[in-house]
Structure formats: C-alpha cells, structure tokens
C-alpha cells in the first residue's frame, strides 16, 4: 500500500456471515446498556447490510443496517443503521458504537417498573435465587424481571469484552442476592455465566448492580471469577 493517496478500501460483507453477526451482537449489547430494563430487552434480529473499512490508526469500522426489537415487550421490529469501531491495540477495549436511537421502540413500562420497584424496595426485601433459568429452562414468573436485569447488567461486561473475535451471550444467572437499598437504588449481587460462542468458553462474572426506574441500570463493580464445577464431582 503506497503512502500517498492511501485509499481506504471499503469491503462489503455478507450480512449472514460471522463478521457482520459479531458486530451486530456488539450493537445489541450497546443498546441494552442504554435502554435495557427489567421490563425491556433488545435483540438484534437480523443484519441486512454490512461493510467494513480499515481506519488507518484507529481500528476497524463496521457499517451495519440491522433490525432490532424489544423481545420482553414484544415490540415491532425497528430498522436502524449504526457504525461500530473496534479499536486497534493490544489490550482489550470496547468497540465504539455510534447510532441514533430516536426510532428505537420504547414501549411504556413505567407502571410495571414502579410496581416492581415498590415491591422490592420494602425494608425487609431480600430476594435471592440461583440457576436462572434452571437446567431445564424454567424460570419462575416472579424471577423473570431479575433475569432481564441480569442480562442488562451483563451487557455492560459483554460490550466491554467484545472485539472482532468474540460473540457473547449470557447463558445463565448462577446467583442473585439482594443487598440493602442505597440512595433509593435497589442493589443486587449477581453471578452470571457468559458464553463466548467463538471460544466456546463459559466465563463467570460477579456483578454489583443497582437499579431504579429513575436511575436505570448501573454496574458498580465487576469481578472475573474462575470457572467452577458447581456441584462437587465425585472423581
């Protein structure tokens, strides 16, 4: 490649192939960090068009057209476009996502959020649970919002860990423990299992999460845990 008249080669991608799918997956995590809630979660259902451009010093940029919907609220699908920049560098850094989200379907969930908040901000509230869903895919109806909340919190970590060689999903909530409400925020200690489709590894993270209808979801602390065999094997 010559130094002068450097052409930024733009490469069209097959939207069904892994490059576009991974970028779409990062966008999904990004959207959930911004707009996710115990009553709202987004899924990028399809990438329609994708292309990529190497940005000299900064990294690799992806341009996507995609569809997304809120699957908890069962919203209609929204068609958007976005830029995802994976930064160059030797240490992991999250992709930078740029898009305008004004058209994203945001169904009215304030009544549900308020009711949930009132219920669990009671002084003696001490929710706890493990294995959500359980091995058979069951989730108690009452635990569903906590499962959604975990997915939103996990999205912060998954976004942070995303690069061109990852495809993250939250596989299961291993543990949830409610902590004392502080500053009007509900607080929870979570242990979540993330699945990286590319390496096939299951990665365990401890998250300290706060939430309120006004405050939204915040991840206050994160800790990477060693993978364990959860029940003691007899070998």
């Amino acid at each position: 490649m010559s130094e002068e008249g450097l052409v930024m080669t733009s490469r069209d991608l097959n939207p069904d192939y892994y490059e576009a799918r991974r970028a779409g997956n990062a966008v999904q995590h990004y959207i959930n960090t911004l707009y996710g809630s115990p009553f709202r979660l987004y899924s990028v259902t399809q990438v329609h068009k994708a292309r990529t451009e190497a940005m000299a010093d900064t990294g690799m940029k992806y341009f996507l057209e995609f569809s997304v919907k809120d699957w908890v609220g069962e919203s209609s699908e929204w068609h958007g476009s976005v830029e995802v920049l994976y930064p160059r560098g030797e240490t992991q850094a999250p992709p930078q996502v740029q898009g305008s989200w004004g058209g994203l379907p945001q169904l009215n969930i304030s009544a549900k959020e308020q009711e949930f908040y009132q219920r669990y901000s009671a002084a003696d509230s001490s929710v706890s649970g493990k294995d959500i869903p359980d091995s058979y895919g069951n989730i108690d109806r009452e635990m569903k919002p906590f499962w959604h909340l975990a997915r939103v919190a996990a999205s912060f970590v998954m976004l942070n860990e995303s690069n061109e060689n990852t495809l993250y999903n939250m596989a299961q909530v291993a543990k949830i423990t409610q902590l004392e409400t502080q500053d009007d925020q509900l607080r929870f200690d979570y242990e979540v299992l993330l699945h990286n489709m590319v390496s096939q590894e299951i990665i365990r993270w401890k998250l300290l999460v706060s939430w309120s209808p006004a405050g939204g979801v915040k991840v206050l602390e994160t800790e990477l845990l060693p993978r364990c065999h959860c029940k003691s094997p007899t070998q």
């Binding site: 097959n14 069904d16 192939y17 892994y18 899924s43 699957w71 069962e74 294995d131 869903p133 359980d134 091995s135 058979y136 895919g137 069951n138 495809l167 999903n169 596989a171 299961q172 299992l193 699945h195 489709m197 590319v198 390496s199 096939q200 590894e201 299951i202 065999h229 959860c230 029940k231 003691s232 094997p233 007899t234 070998q235």
Partner: protein
Amino acid sequence: MTRRVLKFTFFLNRHQVLRINAESEEHIQLLKELEDDEGWELDFWTHPASTDLPVDVHVPFASLHAVKDFLQAHKIPFHVMINNLQVMFHMQPLHSQIYSWMDTLVAAHPNLVSKVQIGTTYENRPMYVLKVGIKTQMNCGNKRPAIWIDAGIHSREWVSTASAVWMADKVNYGVDPSVTSLLGQMDVYLSIVTNPDGYAFTHTSDRMWRKTRSVNPGSVCRGVDPNRNWDAGFGGPGASKNPCSDSYHGPLAHSEIEVKNVVDLVQSHGNFKAFISIHAYSQLLMYPYGYSCTSVPHQAELDSVGRSAVQALSSLYGTTYKVGSICKIIYQASGGSIDWSYDVGIKYSFAFELRDTGRYGFLLPANQIIPTASETWLGLKHIMEYVRDHPY
C-alpha cells in the same frame, strides 16, 4: 395400526396439544387473554401474535373441556394436534432412560429398528446407535447406502439429544410414504447421545459441560472437545492446545474413544452417503469446511440443498435459519466431524445448530423441544430425501 404407548418417566397421559388457527385480531386478543390466565395451566408452545401462524397449546386434561368450550363459543377454529401426548419433556431424560426407551422402541419395531453397540466411552458406558431401515430377506447383511445422524456430541446441548429422541420415535411410528420409501432403500444410523459421559456430567455436576470426560495427563482439567478431535485439519486454527479449554483438540486426532468409535463404524461400513451432526444453539444449517474458508467442490449443491431444507424447516413455525459453510457462518474451527466425513468422500455432510438464538441458549425450555424437533425433522427429511434421490 395402533400406536404403541411408550411408558417412561417423562410421559403424560390424556393431555392434548391443540392447534388453533386464529382468523382475526379479535381471536388473537382472546388467545392472549387465555395465555395470561394462569388458572387453566395452559402451556403455549407458540405465542398468539398473528393470524399467519398457528398457535399450539398444550392443555392438561383437567382444562380440556373448558378450553374447547371457550374456543367453540368464540368460533375460533382448532383441532387436536397431538392426542395422548406421547413424548413430553418436562424433564430432560437421563441417558439411562434413553437406553431403556431404545430397547422399547426396538421391541416394538423389530423389522425396522435395531440397537447397535459401536463401542464404549472413556468411562465405560456403552455407545449405542439406532439403525433404522426396512429389513427384508434380500438386504439382510448387505451394506445398503446409509445416512449417519448424531446428536448430543456436545453434552450441554440438551435440545439436540431431546430432538433426536423425538425424531427416532417419529421415524418409526410415522406413516409418511416418503420416509417409508427412504427406509426401503437406505439405513439411517441415529446416534442419540454421542457423548454419554459428558451428558451424565451435565446432570450430576456441571450443566455447561461440553467436552468428553477423558483425563488429560499432566493437567487438572479433563476432557477434549469431541468436535475438534477429528482428522480434518487437526490442530489447526479454531481449536485450543490448552486442556482446560472448552475447544481443546486433544493430544492427537481420534484420541477420544467416542470419536474413534464413530470413525471405525463409518469406515468399516464403507457405504455412508450422508453425515449429519446436530448441535445447539444459533439456528444455523452448515456444510464444510470449518477448518478452512475455501469453498468445497460441491459448495453450490450443498448450499442449495441446505437452503431448501431450511425452507422446509421454517414452514412449520416460521423459525429462521442461516445457511453457509462453518468457517464463513460462525468461525474457523479445525478437527470437525463433518469436515472429516466430507474429506473421506461423504458428500452430503451437514451440521445443524438448533434453537434458539441466545435467549435461553443451552437451557431451552421443555415447551420448545417438540416444536424444535418437529421443524428440524422437516429439514432433515428434506436432506435425506435428496440423498435418496441423488445416489452416487
């Protein structure tokens, strides 16, 4: 011919699955209300969303009359889709239950199915495969062209094994003339639990276990990824050298006895025409290669068969699948089973990744198992019919 009722722990009598065909928005609304009413303990396998797709509901015996009265009163068309729910998975079967069920199946259809032991596992469990084909005096002992289907090679992918149980049941009890003609010409070898040690471990200790349970000398970590252990680009990119990794390829190709048993069967048989491996999750139908992103010589044909198989699959519930080579659709992965099968000359080599796309992932709820198995069956059937009709 009466259907023999198979008795095992995950069997429910007198329940029914109703298929409801909503014809208007009003019907959809009524069905949504029905879904929200917890009193009748209805289990909606598909959600009422549009009049384009049927709504399937599992109804317990106690609520049957009330539900049918409700539907009739509102003039919502329906019919009984599954009577006396034969196979209902509230509990994922243990491999021991699967083995007992296999024996019952064989006893019920001695001229159609036999149980073949292809070896043992690392922990000395038997590896059984169901061989299905219409036995006649003429073909007894001959190696007719055959189709290999394996499920559960990665132990945490429970829906793969569960679907295979349902499909084995279907193959044997079904009255589909196309399947009958297929089984008159070819044998189908169905490996339901291809990694029994791993499967047992997911029940006793770690639901997320993927690999075999072999001991890795010099390491505290056990197991080898059985889908990185085949002799196809073995040890190349997309597999790990680290025994603690979930994609560890193992010390050498076919080091895992579970893999070696399949290799030995296929090679000694010598007349397999298709090799299909069933995994979960992501909703993909893939063909070789994984170890390289270059196209295989039969790429166009495999892609075309794949696409029409997916069309058949989607026709049932609208479930969308993507089609492509392993390397292009998910990742470069060396040592995979369908790369090996393709490279030894089995042209029609495919891998399925079943439901879902991540919401439940490996933990797919029981009420999605039969819908998943039913739609997958349509896709699989399409491939098998194509193989039957394109001898080589």
